[in-house]
């Protein structure tokens, strides 16, 4: 059985006390919990502070372009449906630049798990508003505040019936690890929006701000009730629920594609000759 030590890797380049450390640890815990060896899982990320995560644990990874993690992850799944694929990236990456891919992945429902490090800011580029910034968030690029309505990916996931929609908190590793493991165990798309403090550029939504608001959804909460889940998803100003907010079952992308039904594509090899019979059409 793999242990946390097997996942040891490079030094991080994050600021001390950054919420990303918690997410990194939770990812490792979740992988160990699932008994996955580093070579048995693929991490995919875009660009940003969050997106550096795959560098900081030993694993297969594809650290691609800003905003493009989701289609890359889908492609990996297309090629090798047996590989668990985990996307770890930032709110700017997944919800801003990558918004179209998120929207359509929700419709498509590939079997991948998305962990969004939602620090409500663009960290790596030094503190511009992100799609999840509060309206009152003032930055050098937004001297009058970030006026666009705060984007709520959890609510969108519920609207579009993503099979697993959760909200985690980077300071609660245990719960977060559990959410990630459950997301990965879910067939189909799983979205975990993680509240993550950026100690350097987001002085508004700091740890205290989050701690004052977060609470855990109780045993009695019914995550399969879509209307109720939508209401929960929109709690924010005063209280922010943590946990699995929504669950449902839906056809998974690939199950409906003949090519993928026969197991991982990469395990199969074709020969040019097999194709020759198609020439008859052109004779």
């Amino acid at each position: 059985m793999p242990t946390l030590k097997d996942y040891a890797s490079q030094q991080t380049a994050w600021c001390p006390h950054c919420g990303n450390f918690g997410i990194l640890q939770a990812v490792k815990l979740a992988l160990v919990q699932q008994g996955l060896e580093p070579w048995e899982v693929v991490l995919v990320s875009g660009i940003g502070q969050a997106a550096k995560l795959p560098h900081y644990l030993k694993c297969n990874y594809f650290n691609g372009l800003h905003g493009r993690a989701v289609p890359v992850a889908t492609g990996i799944k297309a090629a090798n449906s047996a590989l668990p694929v985990l996307v770890t990236s930032g709110d700017g990456d997944l919800y801003g630049e990558g918004g179209n891919h998120l929207l359509h992945a929700m419709r498509r429902n590939p079997d991948i798990t998305l962990v969004c490090h939602n620090n409500q800011v663009y960290g790596l580029t030094k503190g511009q508003a992100s799609p999840t910034s509060e309206e009152s968030f003032v930055t050098k690029a937004q001297p009058n505040g970030a006026h666009d309505e705060r984007f709520n990916a959890v609510a969108l996931g519920i609207l579009l019936q993503v099979p697993f929609v959760a909200r985690g908190f980077a300071r609660d590793l245990e719960q977060l690890a559990d959410l990630i493991a459950q997301g990965m165990a879910t067939r189909g798309l799983a979205l975990i929006d993680v509240l993550q403090e950026c100690v350097t550029f987001n002085r508004l939504n700091n740890d205290e701000w989050y701690r004052q608001r977060v609470y855990y959804l109780g045993e009695d909460y019914d995550a399969t009730d879509r209307a109720g889940a939508l209401v929960k998803a929109e709690e924010w100003e005063e209280r922010i629920p943590l946990g699995i907010i929504y669950r449902c079952q839906r056809e998974v992308w690939g199950d409906n594609l003949p090519a993928m039904q026969a197991g991982p594509l990469v395990a199969r090899q074709r020969q040019p000759r097999e194709v020759e019979r198609l020439l008859e059409e052109f004779v």
Binding site: Q10, E37, P38, W39, E40, V42, V44, I47, K52, P54, H55, K58, C59, N60, Y61, F62, N63, G64, L65, R68, V70, P71, V72, A73, T74, G75, I76, K77, A78, A79, N80, A82, L83, N100, H101, L103, H104, G254, L257, P258, A259, M260, A262, L265, V266, R268, Q269, R270, Q271, P272, R273, E274, V275, E276, L278, L279, F282, V283
Partner: protein, 567 residues
Amino acid sequence: MPLDLNLRLSGEAGQGIDTTGSLLSKVFHRDGYHVFTHQDYMSRIRGGHNYFQIRVADRPVEALEEQVDLLVALQPRDWQEDRADLREGGRVLTEAEVPEDPAVLTVPFTALAEQAGGRLYANTVAAGAALALVGHPLDTLEALLEEQFARKGAAVVEQNRLATRLGHDFVLQHHAEAKLVDLPLLPPHDKLLIGGIEALALAALAAGVQVYSAYPMTPSTGILNYLAGHAAEFGVVVQQAEDEIAAINLALGASYAGARSMVATSGGGFALMVESLSLAGITETPLVLGLGQRPGPATGLPTRTEQGELWFALHAGHGEFPRFVFAPGNPTEAFELTFRAFNLADKYQTPAVVLFDQYLADMLMTVPRFDFGPLSLDRHLATVEEIGRGYAYARYAETPSGVSPRAVPGTAEAVVEVDSDEHDAHGHIIEDAATRKAMVEKRLRKEQGMRREIVPPLLEGDPEPEVLLIGWGSTRGVIAEALQVLREQDVQAARLHCSQLWPFPAQEVAEVLRSAQRSFVVENNATGQLERLIARETRLPLTGGVHRYDGRPFSPAGIVEEIRKQI
């Protein structure tokens, strides 16, 4: 006199002239002729004025001619539009009554179609009528109709047959004296009648493509359709993505995970893929990209042809990285070079662009049967020894060739780490100058190997020509025919066809240029793109260029005329 007959079917979008055109082409092809067709159509689904033109010959032909011998105008309203292209002595078949024009023969397509079973058979009537006028038997057409409509039931087949016969007989009865020629059955051959798009898609299947992702865009959509049609049979994931950026990133993810992957699009979609092309470059992820050019900028003329994206293909993407750029000249080359692109992309772990255009995509041509004998699928993946165990594997290990052993994720005790940031041998993000320098050099060093595998340009004609015609991509056939004409006119001439544009065969081209008195690059663009590439790579002067940039392809006569003006 060799036989060389040009037949044009014209009508509105939606009147089925492409179906009928394909059928007639196949009739002649099956009956032993060589066929070359091309289409001219508008960016609309119904109405307008389109045509399908078929050249029938008793020897190989590889270009269109502007003048036609027989014009079948399905749309009585606007047959006059095509009248100008009628050759002296040619004939028009139309429904319109044109008492004054001796070239025009009236056939009541609609009435006969209704007699056969309905108005929609009008184009089948026309096909029968056309065959009668060129003295060709109906048998093959009837057999093809049976093949094509069998699944729609016997009645439909029968009505179609009846329609052809009604058209045929009407011409024999009323216009027997106008018959243009007698086209007998020739000995059958085993050649293919295939278009550029199908050849490209077939090559992808032959090369074992496993993931094809795309967003629809003319003239590449045919590849999507063809592969989707065969996806279940050959185990291909064919995914229409939400946009082109998703398409290429999906393909790159799949390629990273070990699947042979491809995308295809047109200039506008390729533009959206440019950032990810650069990602393929730095991550050293193999990928084949089909780029179907059409007249730009932007939306331009979406259903027409141009060679306006050579420089774009050469330099798309930020930063410096190696790539292949191929430009097949006909369906045979489309098959061969696309297949080659897959193997070379894998071998050098780099993107390979296959440049084509609407003209190549849509042309149908009688070509020798594709030879599957020599085809082998070379994946160039790392061996077990190269991978080792204990996580020793490094995706970007330094090697003399610049090519590192490539493993795929899911390999025991190896992690495959790829990164769009600059990285070390393991794929870990770095910032130091020395590693950066070494990685730039490793990537660019791959070009040395790539250069050794350049597809040499094709040279034909007089060894020390007065006139050298140079071309690339889809103008291959038309330049070949223009060359013939020039030589028949006693011009000492030769042609040079480049089907690989990068790495560029600079030395070979320079040598040929030096042997020629005057050299002209013939290009379907306004700015002389190959001309400027030759300038950069050889520093040699050229005499001039022959350009066409109105969205239409060249004809041999058009080229000859232009050359005559310039010499």
